[in-house]
């Protein structure tokens, strides 16, 4: 059984971003980049399923410029067997990404596709669902537990009110939430080994996908600043301010 995992190169989760002064986007120059945290959880889950003997091969795929290969090496250091790099722009719209991933799915025929539920840069939360729809596969988003067997996968999902369990026929698409697992620390021998694992490079044209733009970014601005607050000295002063100044409690 093959598992395909999609990974994205994003800004490191702990780095603060700045809006560019010309308001065309955020300034990513010289900032630390990493694998999107949800994608890392997806890779970890795929590798664990392989270690349990439930899968035979884990393939990582990414879409972006050549630098995105660093994240494929990261995925292979976590335990992915090989990678596919789709050479394209770094800021494709989710629908285009889903179409490119569909082309890879058709070629590789994985039983399970694992993706992060959202990337921490564009915060779209769309690709897994779009891919599932385009491939006519069942989906389970926001997974907190994945139980794989030969013909189905049972997924616990984080939903607004609590937890929901779905059973999906394979092949299927699962997107990961934070509590699914804690990715392992990448060890040096694994990082060395990952350098020798193969990366296949393809273009959207080779995959037969035409990139279409549906959206234009008009501007990117800082959120409006909050007006400076005050530090109160005691709980009594706080309650008094909330009651008589802010008037938010009775």
């Amino acid at each position: 059984m093959k598992i395909l995992v999609a990974v994205k190169r994003t800004i490191d989760a702990y780095v603060k971003v700045r809006v560019r002064s010309d308001n065309t986007g955020v300034d990513l120059a010289n900032l630390k980049m990493a694998m999107n945290p949800f994608c890392e959880i997806a890779v970890e889950e795929a590798v664990r399923l392989k270690e349990k003997g439930l899968a035979t091969e884990v393939i990582a795929v990414t879409i972006g410029s050549d630098k995105a290969q660093e994240q494929l090496r990261e995925a292979m250091a976590l335990g992915a067997d090989r990678s596919i790099h789709i050479q394209a722009g770094d800021e494709l719209e989710p629908l285009n990404i889903a179409k490119l991933l569909k082309a890879v799915v058709l070629k590789e025929q994985p039983s399970l596709v694992l993706l992060g539920k959202q990337s921490i840069d564009s915060d779209n939360n769309q690709v897994g669902q779009m891919l599932a729809a385009l491939c006519d596969m069942p989906q389970a988003t926001f997974a907190s537990r994945v139980e794989l067997s030969s013909d189905k996968v049972v997924v616990s999902r984080e939903v607004d009110g609590g937890e929901q369990v779905l059973s999906l026929q394979l092949p299927s698409v699962v997107t990961t939430d934070l509590r699914l697992n804690e990715p392992r620390f990448k060890k040096l021998p694994e990082i060395m080994k990952a350098r020798k694992k193969p990366i296949e490079v393809v273009t959207p044209a080779q995959l037969g996908v035409e990139i279409k733009s549906h959206l234009t970014v008009v501007s990117v601005i800082d959120p409006p600043p909050r007006k400076a607050g005050v530090i109160v000295k005691t709980a009594a002063e706080l309650v008094d301010k909330l009651r008589n100044e802010a008037k938010v409690i009775a």
């Binding site: 971003v17 809006v19 955020v26 949800f38 719209e93 989710p94 629908l95 889903a98 539920k117 915060d123 779209n124 939360n125 669902q129 779009m130 729809a133 385009l134 069942p138 989906q139 389970a140 988003t141 926001f142 907190s144 049972v154 984080e158 607004d160 009110g161 609590g162 937890e163 929901q164 369990v165 059973s167 999906l168 026929q169 934070l178 509590r179 733009s213 549906h214 959206l215 234009t216 970014v217 008009v218 501007s219 990117v220 601005i221 800082d222 959120p223 909050r226 007006k227 607050g229 005050v230 530090i231 109160v232 000295k233 709980a235 706080l238 301010k241 909330l242 802010a246 938010v248 409690i249």
Partner: protein
């Protein structure tokens, strides 16, 4: 210009998020229809007909829609999508799951979690955990959007009820099946709708201590939230998590207790009207967004506040 709004509900009650969706939809279209998909959801349909500005309510009532799968909801919406220029759903776990399927199958983009409508094809949405606001223009003939409902006012009720029409729904041959659901039952207000939210962080130190928030919440009629650190430490369940990857709230009053204020947490609460931070670390980033900050031992502060309320 017609918009379709997909109602948020639990088969018994229409959720307030639906009213915010109607407000957002009325900023794009002249005519707004509401779709209710559920099982034995008559009361929800009736409530939806009374929302001011709604032209008609369409509903599909079927056993299998009691716990609707994304596949089924998307298929249902696609049976009527050709009639609309705008399709809006709430950015809840339900909306986020089914709406991208609709967009993909119509070969159009989805614009996620809009917080403002600039004009009929231009919308504002936060990116990078709310560190920036992007204004996005769509060139698609049909605009598909999830809406951050806390950013829009709730439409009120009208004197006259809108007409109702039933839709035919054929359940799909199931590649996905619903197994079970374990929803938290709480007498507290829903986080999304609560006027006051009290949130606890790692500073509370244990699941037992986390329950100390209950008393203050009781006194203020507040919903209780948690930071990711508190959830990861096992102090609170995940459905309480507020932040970039959890729930986004904008209550009148948000009280952050023992929360340091990572950017990912701020993303979920910084649009609250009044923010209070109680933390013993004066350098905690939460104080930068707080209207009122109290640098103190949170356990003492909690007791003192309870006594004063």
């Amino acid at each position: 210009m017609k918009a379709l709004v997909i109602a948020e509900h639990d088969n018994q009650k229409l959720k307030a998020a639906t009213r915010a969706l109607v407000t957002a939809a009325l900023q794009t279209a002249d005519q707004v229809d509401v779709l209710v998909a559920g099982s034995a959801c008559g009361a929800v349909v009736t409530a939806a007909t009374r929302i001011a500005g709604v032209s008609s309510v369409r509903f599909a009532d079927h056993d299998s829609l009691g716990h609707p799968l994304a596949e089924a909801l998307a298929a249902l919406v696609l049976t009527i999508s050709a009639e609309y220029e705008f399709i809006l759903a709430a950015a809840t776990t339900t909306g986020k799951s089914f709406l991208p399927r609709v967009a993909a199958l119509l070969d159009v983009a989805q614009i996620s979690e809009i917080t403002a409508v600039v004009d009929r094809s231009t919308f504002v949405r936060p990116i990078y955990a709310g560190s920036a606001l992007a204004t996005i223009r769509s060139s698609d003939t049909i605009k598909i959007m999830t809406v951050r409902t806390s950013a829009f006012a709730e439409a009120t009720d009208a004197a006259v009820a809108a007409p109702v029409a039933a839709l035919e729904f054929k359940p799909l041959a199931g590649k996905a099946t619903f197994v079970s659901e374990n929803l938290a039952t709480s007498s507290r207000p829903d986080l999304a709708a609560a006027r006051v939210v009290i949130s606890g962080g790692r500073g509370l130190g244990s699941a037992e201590n986390f329950r100390l928030l209950d008393k203050l919440a009781d006194k203020l009629g507040a919903g209780i939230g948690a930071s990711r650190a508190a959830v990861d430490s096992g102090y609170a369940p995940n459905d309480m998590q507020i932040g970039q990857t959890g729930k986004v709230v904008a209550p009148d009053l948000y009280i952050a207790i023992g929360i340091s204020g990572a950017i990912q947490h701020l993303a979920g609460m910084k649009d609250s009207k009044v923010i209070v931070a109680i933390n013993k670390d004066a350098e905690a980033p939460i104080f930068q967004v707080a209207d009122y900050g109290l640098v103190a031992d949170l356990f003492t502060a909690l007791q003192e506040m309870e006594a004063l309320l």
